[in-house]
Amino acid sequence: MGTRTAHESAEKHVTGAATYIDDMLAPANTLHAYVGLSTIARGRISAMDLAKVREAPGVVDVLTRDDIPGHRDIGPVFPGDPLLIAVGDEVEFHGQVLFCVAAESYEEARRAAQLAQVSYEELPAILSIAEGLEAESFVRPAHTQQRGDLKKGFLNAERSLQGRLEIGGQEQMYLEGQVSLCVPEEDGGMLVYSSTQNPTEGQKLVAEVLNVPMHKVTIDARRMGGAFGGKETHANQWACLAAIQASRTGRAVKLRLARAEDMRATGKRHHFLSEYKVGFDDTGRIHALDLMLAGGCGMSPDLSDAIVDRAMFHSDNAYFIETMKVVGHRVKTNTVSNTAFRGFGGPQGMVAIEDILDAVARASGEDPLTVRKRNLYSEEGERNVTHYGQTVDTRVLPVLIDRLEHSSDYWQRREQVRAFNTQSTILKRGLALTPVKFGISFTVKHLNQAGALIHVYTDGSIQINHGGTEMGQGLYTKVAQIVAHELQVDVDTIRCTATRTDKVPNTSPTAASSGSDLNGMAALAAARTIRERLEAFASEHFDVARTAIVFTRNHVLIGDQEMPFPELVELAYMNRVQLSATGYYRTPKIHYDRQAASGRPFYYYANGAAVSEVVVDTLTGEYRVERVDICHDVGRSLNPAIDIGQIEGGFVQGMGWLTSEELAWDDRGRLLTTGPATYKIPAIGDTPAIFNVELLPDSPNAEETVFRSKAVGEPPLMLAISVWSALRDAVASLADYKLHPPLDPPATPERVLLACEAVRSEAQAIPSESDEH
């Protein structure tokens, strides 16, 4: 435990031997399915002529809405996501699936899908959050969290500011696109290989669309080539379509989306609009905040309720705000339904509050770090309860920030940056430290449970299976380490097998950073059961006390004798001891009263902070991230190599979201950025030249998590807010740090240049005036 064990598939990854769904040996005569997509954002389908599709070479089956045997809506939580739509139905976004065609080859299916002739009666479309708010177009009702009396709060504050921020969305851009392979089985069964984070939900929806009980459907998910939330619910549609066509044709069917269709037809991170009024004093301490967050949900609810909630839960980030009201709107637009993406709304809420912190710092004339520290949650004066009533353990973040402040040399570098900026007129440097406090647990309570299954075979080799899916985050590796530690055997005696709904049923999605917290505990419970059975057996068989039995280094000490683990296993089998066990876990202590908007939705918080330094070219808006220092709290690390990988990878992904990754649509709602040629995720040179990452030492989780570790999947993404803040710091230098540069993320070079121009012209307009608002 706690070792830098390599990813269980590392050797398979590098040799090309790791099998993804499109790499599997498909059964003979497998068909290939492809989808036809709508070409308008909103309107009624007046005619759909599929004759040419049916007649195209290689075509075997064309599936339309009326051919669906069971449910036609695959909305995961609420209805609103039609599997297919037909004449008379309303198209709700550009790229919505109309029909599905199965052909002998992938190319034939794709070509046939282009041949449909569809006419529409176009209707006016809502394409932006602002239009949606104006029209009161929502997918779900708003939710409000409030503490204290805002009026009083603003009266207590000496000063106030108002502002607005548009926060861009983000494409998951998993390298492996959406894919499913469905194989019909006897009894009307269906075996579905799906690149999914959510096997059980896939199973349920496939069963529903096929109109069969869930026990007829098995989902198998060995690994994904990246997911990042994009395969939590948006993997379902492709599994459902392929399953129906497999059922209709009696042949295996594979559906794999090409990149452009993947980007058009599947959801992204929600873009958000934030509007605020903040009250603060001259020292930069915030007293009151009135915040509106509006998430652009696209055409259906999908997971948006929970996503906007999580944005609200993180709109305090690490700061105590005495009087606070946050309203979260779920805006419906005629765009693809937005979905989960690492952080699940949390990053958007956090960007909103960090924007406010920077604005307050500029207005109060203090260094942004001073203002941030002044507002942190602390024990002092009982400033340790969030606006939704959860008490914050304040022992971690202040220590962590202090440590980082020193290790990164923040204050000395602040001086250097200021000195540089007075000398240099074209290039400007910026520096920022931003913290992260991220709540761990699904805010949908029932999802906080997990199961595991362990088999010990008579040669001592072990198979484990659990409800979590492997998308690269190293979950299988961590769970194997946990079981190896519990049974004191080498990790290479353990094999993690594909996540399957017929092995461990009723699982939660691998999401919310919960993978190892939940499945690790379930696997630990199963391993403990096995160990206890072996102990009980050995105690009785060898007549020694239970306390005299010790598992250690592939052996078991039984009183005076030492027996290799496989030998004891074999002996136990001969004596009819069960060597297979299930394990189960549910997270304790959590609750949230939505009516009162109060409770403890999170088992604990994961913490971190980052210092980023950038250099900006104020003539072109180009910039470079020169140095990043991170200190992050993973509790007691299960695997430092994997954890650091999550931190670095999350950081760079977050940096992409806030800098170069810009989604663009035309004025009719057609996505323009449909591939990596136009949608720019960070490349290798974007990784900071100096990149120091430290795990906060000696900081076990105060809660009883698996080996006192902490979740690490999502929180580090938000460390990248420091890059965005540093960019604004650089731009703010153009007006001697007196103005808060308008820089809506993503801060592309274009937007950075616009911000430079805005700050320059505002500084000229009011050269000597102070920062009153």
Partner: protein, 498 residues
């Protein structure tokens, strides 16, 4: 028939569709699934394979995007896909990736491994000028970034991959490919020597032709006007992989030895139609070291090893990076048809959006770039959303000579500012003969904004394009005066590596 080595095994194929990609060949025909499709457009590198060919008595290992490389392009080469790297044990580059925790989801990993393998094969020449002679970490990182800039990873944040690259570069053993180099070269030479038929591939009424000389190309074009010319194919293949259009009749210019010429004579650099960006890099930067950065940021290593300089001009995209360079340098094109050969100043080649002065039956035989003139001050600026492997929002190339502070000669080429790559005549007129001063630059910048009306698209808005183009003129002025640093990324001048 085409012949190539797949690993060490010789393969002959005559029946295949002309538009079969290397990726499709590997995955669908050979059932080798290690090479992945991430985007099918040459932008992510997940499908990277390595091809080798003989150059000046040495084997050159080049990474290529298998998704947009034709099967026909493999003739006379050795194809190495990820399956062939490891023998009993992982290859040193694979081991380095394991040791450095360089993979997470693993889907991009085989592509990274292959790009690393191509870099690894250059380690002796790199180390020769590199670490042992005190190469800094920055320079080492720069090499790694250049080699891996065309491979996207969504999981790791790249730091462990950079570490793996450094580990692989320091390996001092020899792998099985190095051990077999002499034999490989002999086999490839044999294929070359025995090459006789110009029909490369045919199947289902499709043809992939490999003519042996330029006149044959001209005659084929005359006889089959529907045929498409292919050199690197890095742009052409997108019609096939993205728009699903068949490419049933291809004429491969890279098969023509006389189009692969790369000469420097008294007056010109002459770059044949089949010369890749990679091959043109050294002669171009020897003459014009200021182009180093632009070349390194041109597509990716994969694209540069496959695509050609002339191809980037021929397709007349308004956002190609070579046209503005060649406009500024006063280059010309030699056009050939069955009956005639003519020379055209490059500015006259671009008529309208993707419309050129090429007559039916004509093709570009070569690009002629004038030798450097004394006193030339040259700058090539590329503005894009991402520094590496991105298409320019604006590409601006300034070529001028100064007499004291007077601008005696100036040519300016722009990409991304109009429907075609364009020369900034009005701005040139304003600058020509004038004394350098802040006022002059302001006037020229204003004029520039008037001279062009760029469009807004997914890459940049019209407003940004106009503003940044004008500001690049200001950057030029600052660099002329050498007043202060102007660049966020270290400016790399051409040096001996590579």
């Amino acid at each position: 028939m085409i012949r190539f080595l797949h690993g060490f095994e010789e393969v002959s194929i005559s029946e295949a569709r002309s538009d079969t990609t290397v990726l499709s060949y590997l995955r669908n025909q050979r059932n080798l699934k290690g090479t992945k499709e991430g985007c099918a457009s040459g932008d992510c590198g997940a499908c990277t394979v390595v091809t080798t060919r003989q150059v000046a008595g040495e084997l050159r290992y080049e990474p290529v995007n298998a998704c947009i490389a034709t099967l026909g392009s493999l003739h006379g080469k050795q194809l190495i896909s990820v399956e062939q790297l490891s023998e009993e044990r992982p290859h040193p580059v694979q081991q380095a990736m394991i040791d450095a925790h360089g993979s997470q989801c693993g889907f991009c990993t085989p592509g990274f491994v292959m790009s690393l393998f191509a870099l690894y094969q250059r380690r002796l020449s790199i180390n020769g000028v590199g670490q042992e002679s005190g190469e800094s970490k920055d320079t080492g990182d720069h090499l790694v970034h250049e080699a891996l800039g065309g491979n996207l990873c969504r999981c790791t944040g790249y730091r462990p991959i950079v570490d793996a690259a450094h580990q692989a570069l320091s390996y001092d053993g020899r792998d099985c490919f190095e051990m077999a180099e002499r034999e490989t070269m002999q086999k490839l030479a044999l294929i070359e020597a025995e090459d006789s038929s110009s029909l490369g591939l045919s199947c289902e009424d499709t043809r992939y032709l490999r003519p042996r000389n330029a006149q044959e190309v001209a005659l084929l074009l005359q006889e089959f006007p529907e045929a498409r010319l292919i050199a690197g194919g890095t742009d052409l293949l997108l019609e096939h992989t993205q728009l699903l259009r068949p490419l049933p009749f291809l004429i491969d210019l890279k098969a023509v030895p006389e189009l692969a010429h790369l000469e420097v004579d008294q007056t010109h650099l002459r770059i044949g139609a089949a010369v890749t960006h990679t091959d043109a890099q050294k002669p171009l930067t020897d003459e014009y070291p200021e182009l180093q950065e632009l070349i390194e940021r041109f597509g990716s290593t994969q694209i540069r090893s496959q695509g050609t300089v002339v191809g980037n001009i021929a397709n007349a995209s308004p956002i190609g990076d070579w046209p503005p360079v060649m406009i500024a340098l006063g280059a010309s094109l030699v056009l050939q048809s069955a009956h005639s050969t003519r020379e055209l100043p490059i500015g006259d080649y671009f008529l309208d959006y993707k419309k050129t002065a090429l007559a039916p039956g004509e093709f570009i035989r070569e690009l002629k770039i004038p030798r450097r003139i004394p006193g030339l001050f040259l700058r090539a600026y590329k503005i894009s959303k991402r520094y590496e492997d991105d298409i320019s929002s604006v590409c601006a190339v300034f070529a001028l000579t100064l007499d004291e502070q007077q601008i005696s000669q100036v040519t300016i080429g722009f990409g991304g500012m109009a429907a075609i790559p364009t020369r900034a005549f009005e701005v040139e007129k304003c600058l020509q003969g004038a004394q350098l001063s802040p006022e002059l630059i302001d006037d020229a910048a204003k004029l520039l904004k008037r001279e062009f009306t760029p469009i807004s698209d997914a890459r940049a808005s019209a407003r940004y394009r106009s503003t940044v183009a004008a500001n690049l003129l200001r950057r030029l002025a600052v660099e002329l005066a050498d007043e202060q640093p102007t660049r966020t990324h270290p400016v790399v001048l051409a040096c001996a590596h590579g």
